[in-house]
Symmetry: C2
Subunit: 133 residues, 2 copies
């Protein structure tokens, strides 16, 4: 098991996803509908292949994502959020709201703000649908 730093729930959570990449993989699945290794690799942030592989493996071990056989192409594999992973989406939404508010010059980022603020639950629901589709 992953070693735990303390009994604090915040430390507990950060021990799972407190790095620069894990929540981006969750985002890729829930917002952009990405499912395959190559799609994650092609995301704009340029994650290194070894890091991607190690994060995917860790997230599967942690029960946040699951690795399945692609029903349409039997040889390929796809990744999906588990219920435990879907429960991370409220955190993701709050990060969007924070960034949208404090990113001074990104119109892209600020575009999310109205959406996220006005229709937080709708955005969440859309992400959940996307993640389980």
């Amino acid at each position: 098991m992953r070693d735990q730093r303390s009994e604090c729930p915040i430390a507990y959570g950060l021990d799972f996803f407190g790095d620069k990449w894990s929540l981006l993989i969750v985002r890729d699945i829930a917002i952009y509908g990405r499912r395959r290794y190559g799609q994650f690799e092609a995301a704009g942030e340029g994650i290194a292949t070894n890091i991607l592989a190690s994060r995917l493996k860790q997230l599967v071990e942690d029960g946040i994502i699951e690795k399945l056989r692609d029903p349409e192409h039997g040889s390929k594999r796809i990744y999906r959020l588990t219920p435990k992973g879907i429960d991370l989406l409220p955190i993701v939404v709050e990060i969007i709201i924070w960034s949208a508010k404090h990113d001074p010059d990104s119109p892209v980022t600020r575009g999310y703000l109205h959406r996220a603020r006005r229709d937080r639950d709708g955005l969440l629901e859309e992400m959940r649908r996307n993640a389980t589709a």
Copy 2:
């Protein structure tokens, strides 16, 4: 300036606080009312002193916390959340809710769950007061 990985608001936020320590410092201030270097150092997770110093410096540069002269002991310094840092608290609350739900054996952690779920806004308000006191 910090280098930005992409235009994505989630990547943007994680570039600020996407590590295992930054949000714990925010927590120390907002939940435990800690203000001084030594208090952060004494927190249960055992952060190394150089890491603590570097995180504090970065958070100040990022405008998430501010370093002030202690009004009671002029020679000492205290750290406090800025409004930008206070805006991180909804993220912290969602992490608490996630951890409380998915930490299988911690009564400490699960103790927060009822509070956070039942009275999310009250918890937030209390943290805000604590952070600005």
